[in-house]
Amino acid sequence: MWEKVVSYIPNWTVFMQGFLAFLIPYIIFNVFNQLKSEKKKESQKETNPNSSQAPSEHYTGDYTLDYERIKQQIGHNWDVHFREFLLGDTGVRVAIIFLDGLSDKELIEKHIMMALMQNFTDEKYDESSFKNGEVLQEFIKNRILPISDLKEEQDIKLSATAVLTGSAALIIDGISNALILDIAKGKSRNIEEPVSEALVRGPRVGFTEILSDNTALLRKHGENSNLFIINFKVGQRSKKELIVAYIEDVADPNLVEEVKRRIQKITIDDVAESGYIEQLIEDNYLSPFPQVQSTERPDRVFAALMEGRVAILLDGTPFALVAPVTLGMLLQSPEDYYERWLPSSLIRLLRYLAASVTLFAPSLYIAFVSFHQGLIPTKLALSIMRAREGVPFPALIEALIMEVAIEILREAGLRLPKPIGPTMGIVGGLVIGEAAVQAGIVSPVLVIIVALTAISSFVIPQYNAGITLRMLRFIAMFLAALFGLYGVVIFFLFLCSHLVKLKSFGVPYLSPTVPYRAGDWKDFMVRMPLKMMKNRPRLLHTKDSTRRKD
């Protein structure tokens, strides 16, 4: 009896394998958990209010004292200018403080100082009333300064900050305020067509680095009183304007709240670009897929707003963010809607094809050439065989050499000055492709596949989505080299299970495929005629779901 039981106990290698099969997922699970708990700790820290702020100083109304104190604050800066003068013929001492380069000097000279320095005695006010600070302040505000954006600021520190962002501060003897005049005028560039998202048909307009220009572009898109543009300040050390834009009677209020909440939670000393925001508010920072769309095109942003999405614009960058995003959106171009539906649909299908070529072509090559030669049509098998004769590397190494080479070429072409970039790309590509084949390091078939892969990845309208796919391609290649077609299938399953779980601001990344919404398929792989696209995407839970009424 006992011997019979023993005969069924497998030998130690089976136990070892079982142990490994348990251990590996266990370790991965633990690592993920560790990462997650760290993130939680971070977010807990964020909720602690940092209430350790220096006691504020206020203006006293004593000119000499105030002047000294603000000079102490920012006077050491080379670009901060202090100009003292007398207020008209009243003899009241005035100082204007502004930042060279950011403030509009011409405006200061021609309109502010001119107005203040000339004799403006009025019959209503005699000189004695100017001794009264309140009256003087009102008078200057109401009668003298032709400035639309004017604030009173009591706090010295805040007024100093205002000066540093381009406003001019006016300190007047006897007034316990500083007048902050917003006359900031940064150098802006012209509105140009965005380089990274060029279209054949569509507006030749891209965002610039000036936030107000960008919001103006959105406003200019069409009359819409429901376009809400809400501002936030981000960055703890260097503060920046950030705008959340949405259409009030379309966007899901929960979504808007969620976006606002995440933005308010951002604690970082400096936000250099909207990429920072993107990385700080995204759902899953371990995912290779971009979960927020970044675009330079106002028309794209506006179209997203009309679908009930939320846009985030940051001062100082032409890249606006759109959330939530789905995988389908990354393969769409605004042109799909500008052109007629049949060509658009075909081009869209072509993009899906190109995306799968990018992802799978090299790995399928490896799988077929080193595992499943029987699956290649006989004549093709013969010509691949002939081509690979004398190649000293296995298919994986061969493919890796070429794929890495082409990635290097791409990166180099990007960094090089514009006139040489393309030339280098062509020359490098030709030299590497042709010479590597001649030297017998790689086979010509592979060069075709690598070139096809690289070109396909540029078909994807979103640059970062293209990079994602190119990155994943390498994982697919390794799995193909290890397990053949089976590995490619496993890779695909992993990818699918990740994508199904991934969410962008509560919206499933794979929608409308999973969860399935037949209605949303009208604008997914194919772009149905506009006459049929009557509703907004249902997954966004828009307040107003109908787009067209008949």
Partner: protein
């Protein structure tokens, strides 16, 4: 670490795909240029079985044409035939490892040629068992029977050609002539062998050049080669089965004794079994539409209705002649049913078939068969003369 419900699900979900990786036994990476593709195999009977494999390797492929360019007609061939002898097939094939540096790879194998000697001395079900069983061999590969030595079929004088692939291309011609049988794949062969039915296999002959010539008759009971049919008889078989997709029929005009060539566009046949007590008989109805492909009769116009009717009549005669010819040979000489009469009987009279199926081939040779041909000439081409 606490495992709450969600974590546990995540954990189990992760476990599934990862454990799949451990289940793999498919560690079979082999580079394509290290393979020797087996394009075709031939089996001969000398004192033992001689197996010849036609290998295509990365060295031989394309070398025919390349050598032709650089060295002015060098003798290096695009293939390499390797022979080995043994008592059984698989051990013999394995012994080739001793001679060939490449890993034999049979998934692209197209054709298996059996020599006449081999086929008439071995029960094919036993002798071909390896080929039917082996997973690497595609069931779509074809069986051919050589009229002399099979290994000669896999040789050619043209160094750039690969004989095994040529055979495959040639058999595609069965769509345009009724002298070639549709290919007998291993998938079909298995069924034929299991059902104990007699059947035909395309025969090839090599006298320097490879040529399709007639068909080999495999007897259902013994599963051995019984004999050969010539091309004319194959045509008869094709008309009986109605499986042809093209072909020509030549007939002679009665008055002038000049040829009229009828080109088949479509072919239909029906074998109707009749059972009357113990007497079984068959009626074959053949219908065909076609056109006049060529005619040597100068006195008549092809556009003439009367001539057309005359041509139809003579063609019908010719077809009847073909059918009768092959039936006589099958019934009198070979005593095998390879044209599917038994199958029709099985379908229409299953009870009768149960009784007769054990010695059907014997019975078949006694059965009266009547043939009825109807030819319709649809057009006479671009010339009315």
């Amino acid at each position: 670490m606490r495992l709450n419900h969600r974590n546990a699900r995540f954990f189990l979900g992760l476990l599934l795909p990862i454990s799949v990786l451990f289940l793999t036994g498919c560690w079979s990476s082999k580079e394509i240029e290290e393979l020797g593709l087996i394009a075709g195999t031939s089996l001969d009977l000398d004192t033992d079985i001689t197996v010849t494999n036609q290998f295509i390797t990365s060295e031989t492929t394309g070398s025919g044409s390349r050598a032709g360019n650089t060295q002015g007609g060098s003798t290096q061939k695009a293939y390499k035939n390797v022979s080995e002898t043994g008592k059984e097939v698989l051990p013999t094939v394995r012994n080739m490892l001793l001679k060939v540096d490449k890993r034999a790879f049979a998934e692209h194998s197209k054709v298996i040629v059996i020599g006449e000697e081999f086929a008439s001395n071995f029960n094919l079900q036993q002798a071909l068992d390896f080929f039917l069983r082996e997973v690497e061999l595609r069931p779509s590969s074809m069986l051919l029977i050589a009229k002399n030595r099979a290994s000669d079929i896999l040789e050619t004088n043209e160094p750039t050609k690969i004989p095994a692939f040529q055979l495959v291309e040639m058999i595609k011609g069965h769509k345009r002539t009724s002298k070639i049988l549709p290919p007998m794949t291993f998938a079909q062969l298995e069924g034929k062998l299991e059902s104990n039915a007699s059947f035909l296999v395309q025969a090839v002959v090599s006298d320097g050049d490879v040529k399709f010539s007639g068909a080999a008759v495999i007897e259902g009971k013994t599963k051995k080669l019984r004999g050969f049919l010539d091309e004319k008889e194959i045509e008869g078989i094709t008309w009986i089965t109605g499986k042809g997709q093209g072909g020509l029929v030549k007939s002679l005009d009665k008055e002038t004794h000049q040829s009229i060539i009828y080109e088949v566009l479509s072919m239909k046949s029906k074998i109707i079994p009749k059972v009357n007590g113990d007497n079984i008989s068959f009626n074959i109805t053949i219908e065909s539409e076609g056109r006049i492909g060529e005619q040597w009769v100068l006195s008549d116009k092809a556009s003439d209705d009367e001539f057309i009717r005359k041509a139809e009549k003579t063609t019908e005669k010719s077809v009847e002649h073909l059918v009768e010819g092959v039936l006589e040979k099958l019934q009198q000489e070979y005593k095998t049913d390879v044209a599917g009469f038994g199958n029709r009987l099985r379908i229409e009279y299953p009870k009768v078939w149960e009784k007769v199926k054990n010695d059907w081939d014997e019975l078949f040779s006694q059965v009266p068969i009547k043939c009825n041909v109807k030819i319709t000439i649809k057009d006479y081409g671009t010339s009315g003369e």
